[in-house]
Symmetry: C2
Subunit: 234 residues, 2 copies
Amino acid sequence: MIHLDNSRALVVYSGGQDSTTCLFWAKANFEEVHALSFIYGQKHVHEVDLAEEIAREAGVGFDKMDVSFISRLAPNSLTDSSIPMDSEKPAGGPPNTFVPGRNLFFLSIAAVYARERGIRHLVTGVSQTDFSGYPDCRDAFIRSLNVTLNMAMEEQFVIHTPLMWIDKCQTWALADRLGVLDLVREKTLTCYNGVKGDGCGHCPACKLRREGLEQYLHTEDKTALLPTFLVHGI
Amino acid sequence: MIHLDNSRALVVYSGGQDSTTCLFWAKANFEEVHALSFIYGQKHVHEVDLAEEIAREAGVGFDKMDVSFISRLAPNSLTDSSIPMDSEKPAGGPPNTFVPGRNLFFLSIAAVYARERGIRHLVTGVSQTDFSGYPDCRDAFIRSLNVTLNMAMEEQFVIHTPLMWIDKCQTWALADRLGVLDLVREKTLTCYNGVKGDGCGHCPACKLRREGLEQYLHTEDKTALLPTFLVHGI
């Protein structure tokens, strides 16, 4: 039986605000951290280069995988430029920025990748607080997937979701607590239009990010923002 | 919400004995059947051409997908010619013919593919009776995956595993009952060495297949071989 190591973690890493915050959360919680990025047909594939840059600067291992079969499977506005993006969640279904199975594939691939390297711990930046109609960001899905992965390979992986129960304001608080607020603000790419840092300012991702930041910067008692279970010891 | 149709099924299809039997099982149970094959770095990639040939002859839709990222993820003897194949299950782990995550990826991709086409029913030829150390052939894994897929996409897929509780002898009985014993015997490829039909005769897959066939051909009361739930109405 392959031995999985408790001292190392693999972060599913896009170079965005959320996964970058998770990367530094992982650095604070594990001795050795690896980042794995995916090329899946996203419009702004240079986000993978930004991801690599941040990972290198953070001193963590970096690897990328081409999984562009995902974008061929189902049309969506994140990978198909001919589809205009939904700016709000439509009634009766997820927005067309939903890439069906994306987190399913990312985490499944991460698990096989981790198993080969003896890494037990997987980290992902999904959050059901900012749940915008994406079923694969919910806690119950992640837990179900964790069991499925363990059964598929007869291993005991542990998926960590540091952002699951916090909102964008708290995600900024976590970055600040980890000492990387400026880094996250300046170097990460969240914007649907591919603009680094503060972004285009118009797309839903930019609005969410900016509102969270403003809310955080205006909070008087910043230390009370985060749940204890998340920051205990860091 | 996308409407999933109960009259159609998608079969995860390799062109081997098991999935070909499942293909005809699906034809007996659904109005319209599609077959989906995967190119995943297998040594005998012409099995996909054989699969297409059988699917066309059977009058079912056929499609293939390149998922060769699977073979790059983890070394195994089915996709890497430099690794000699285990002929028996080693102690303490699955044999090196195990491709970690293979059924996880095949069924996950099949589900996204089916969702795009409004197909609810997925069929796979996995069996835990012939369970040779592959954790991703077990019934509990398939059920866990079914739940995970449904949560990932907020849909209600149904995974069918006609061979789950029967052995190779009974699989021949099922093919016979479906009227395709000769077709399965002559046209399918199960052999690890890539030889169609009765195969090379030496590899573990050929031995299992031949022993099952001989046992079936020598069975006096062939009608008693199959569980009722499997053949009711066909």
